[in-house]
Each structure stands twice: as C-alpha cells, then as structure tokens.
C-alpha cells in the first residue's frame, strides 16, 4: 500500500470539511476523485501532501506513519525533518501549475532533486532531459514559464514532480486552469503515466477522462465519500441518489 489515510478529520474554524475520510491507494492504482465544488476533494489532497494539517486521523506512506492519533484523539505529526523526508514519497501537480517563474524549464525540474535530494547534477540532468523528451518539451528546456502555454507549463510541472521519483503523484484539478483546447495534451500525459503504472490520485472534473483512465472512482460530497468503485459502476450504474444527481447535472 502506497498511501493509507484513516479517519481523516479536518475543519476550518467551525466548518467541518473532511469527516472521517479513509482512503487507501495501492501501488500502480489510478484513483479519480470527483464531486462538486466545496466537497472537500482538494482539501483531501492538501492534507495528504501536508499543506494542511489534519485535526484527527492517520496518514501513512509505504507503511511509514507520518501522522498518528494520540490518546486524546488528536492528530500527531512526526518531526519536521522526518516529515520533510516523507515528502519524497509523493509529488503534487497544482491547478495553477506554480512553476518557479525565475527559473528556466530545466532548472524548474532539476533544482529540487539537486538541492533537496542532494543527487549528483549530471545524473539529474540526464533524467530531466529524458523527462522533457517524454513531455515533448525538449526544445523548451531553456525557456521561462512565461514563454510557455498553459498546457506546456502544466507538463513542466508534471516533469518537475516526476524528477523527484515519487511513489505516488497527486493531481489537483490539473486541467481546470487550461483552455479547453489545451486540456488534451495534459490528459494525454497523465494517461501515458497510467499506462506505465504510475500510482496516481487525480482530483478532476473531466468525467470521460476519469472513466477511461482510473481503476477506481471516488465521489465526494459534503466532506464524505458518498460512493466509490469501479469507474463503469460509478458512472454507469451509481447506487447513491446524490451521485446520480451529480452526474445528471454534469451531463446537462
């Protein structure tokens, strides 16, 4: 099991955003999370990547605990140094790309492996060039993010995450900030990663994509997992009324 989240509780002030959420992701699995805005799906990814602190629950990567619950039922994080090490297990691709604008494409990809993972520069460069080839961006290696289209920026962001050799890759609505004509090139890359058995969790509004690529689809609403299962089942024959309603609205 790559990721194990158990009994996650998260509130912003009085507003409870995640209510007793549990999620396990096995190696090679592609999980899509769908649901209306405010359902907590992005917050779930932000908790999994330690951008938000959970109030209660457990998070494990590759069996190693990152967060446990103490006797009082409160979440307890491992130390800062250990937590930073834990971040090597995952990568996150943001809706807004969040590339570093003052770094070239190549430096965006190479900087963290060199300065965080302390890997040899030559090795990292070779891998970065390989990733650029895969993303069809070899010619843009020396470009700066502002010179790229949104789709190209997002592919650089994916390469940047992959350069850290994560065990699991999270996508937070990776195509929501893109023009419709650019979403295809990003989805194609994610699909290719799925074929290579990259473990992924994708929060998305691209229903046909989720249906085609995922091994499992999770429908979230109001901070809970309403329904989950095989994509054909969730999309084709949803059991919950709320899921049916959401998918119906979506098709209109």
């Amino acid at each position: 099991m790559v990721l194990e989240m158990k009994g996650i509780e998260k509130a912003f002030g009085n507003l409870s955003v995640l209510k007793d959420i549990s999620l396990q992701v096995d190696s090679g699995e592609v999980v899509s999370i769908i649901g209306p805005s405010g359902s907590g799906k992005s917050t779930l990814l932000r908790c999994a990547t330690f951008l938000e602190r959970i109030d209660a629950g457990e998070i494990r990567y590759l069996g190693e605990p990152a967060v446990t619950t103490n006797g009082q039922g409160e979440a307890e994080y491992v130390g800062a140094a250990e937590l930073r090490k834990m971040k090597q297990h995952f990568g996150l691709v943001f809706q807004q790309f969040n590339l570093f604008p003052h770094y070239s494409v190549l430096k965006n990809i190479m900087d963290a492996p060199i300065h965080v993972q302390k890997r040899p520069k030559e090795e990292v460069r070779a891998e970065a060039e390989e990733l650029l080839k895969k993303m069809d961006l070899v010619k843009r290696a020396e470009a700066y993010p502002c010179q790229l289209s949104g789709g190209q920026q997002q592919r650089v962001a994916i390469a940047r995450a992959l350069a850290m050799k994560p065990s699991i890759l999270f996508f937070d609505e990776p195509t929501s900030a893109l023009d419709p004509e650019l979403t295809g090139e990003v989805l194609k890359v994610i699909r290719q990663l799925a074929e290579e058995k990259m473990t992924m969790v994708v929060v998305t509004h691209e229903m046909p994509f989720a249906r085609a690529v995922s091994n499992r689809v999770i429908f979230m609403d109001g901070g809970v997992i309403v329904e989950q299962g095989d994509p054909e089942q969730v999309f084709g024959a949803p059991e919950q009324e709320r899921t049916k309603q959401f998918l119906r609205n979506y098709q209109q």
Binding site: L51, G91, V116
Partner: protein
Amino acid sequence: MTIQTMLGLLAQGFLTTLAIFFLTLIGSLLLGLPVALGRMSRYGVVRGAIKVYISIMRGTPLMLQLMVVYFGPSLLLGLSLPANWRFAAVIVAFVINYAAYFGEIYRAGIEAISDGQREAAQVLGYTRGQTFFKIILPQMVKRVLPPVTNEVITLVKDTSLASVIGTVEMFTRAKQIAVAPNSPGMLTFVAAAVFYYVFNYVVAFVMERIEKAFDYYR
C-alpha cells in the same frame, strides 16, 4: 571667488554627499530585510516592536531624528563622543530611517507572491530557508524595484538634511559659499541643483537597467 573655485568646493562637498548616499543605501537595503521579516514574524512581540519602530521612523521628521541620534547620547546618557561621531550619527540616523521604508516595501513585495509558490516549494521538500532565499527573495527583488527606485531618488535629495547637524556635505557647502564675500551667489545654488539632478538622472538610469535585467521572467 571664481566659478571654478566654487565648483571645486561643491565637488568636495559632493564627495561627502556620495558617502552618505552609498553607506545609507547599503545599510538600509540590508537592514530592510530583517525589518520586513520581523514585521511578518509569527511572534506577536517581534511584530509589535517592529510596527512601533516603523511608525516612529515614518511619523517623525528625519531632520529631527538626525538631531536625536547626534545629540541624544551626550544629552541623555552623558556619553562623551569621538570627534567623528557627527558623520557616524548621520549614517546611523539615515540607515534606521530608510530601513523602515525599505522594510515595508519588501513586505509588500513578499506578500504579493502567491501562496502557490511557497506551497510548491514546500511539497518539493525545500527547507524554510531554501524557500525564502531561492524562491521568494529573487521574485521579491523584481517586484520591489520600482518603489525602491522612488526611495533611492528621495535619498539623494535627503542627504542635504545632514546639514542640520553641521555635516559639510554639498548643500551645507553651497550655503557657506553663497554667503561668502564675492561669491557667485545664486549661481552656487543653481550649480548644486545641477549636481543633484545629474546624480538622480544617473540613479534613475541605473535602476532602469536593473529592472530590464529582470525582464526575462514575469
């Protein structure tokens, strides 16, 4: 007094003006950084203290601050000060005054950087120090260049305030020359104005060049 003599004396004073300018610039640009960080500190005491400091620096005249720094140690604490204290007092007063302004400019620059930058660095495993020096600071520098240029140009003219505690920089010198017997009179002030103007012209040109050098990204 010939015009050449007058210009020579002004040029001499201008060297002191230059010294005040550069020492203040270096000192306050650097000190502005801890001021900005302190102003955003998660510790309320630090934040509060820096706020009070900024408020005083911006709320009272620099001319008065010069007097306090120069006379304060002997009047309040009874210290006897070395002969070169006058110049040191000018630099101290200018640096702590300008650092307050630069600190606020830096803070605005840092706060304008999207949270996504910090979050991307955090997820990649950068330490807090790496995040600040590699990701935040370089982007902040680009953003603050226009307001910093404003302050630097003001500083060129503010150096004349050192006159109030008797520092013989260009403005003090101009006043002395203008009232001397057989002086070129008004022409002295015109010459001083040209010195300041040309200096600021150069400052604006250099700052524009620096801004251009950051044009390669947005």
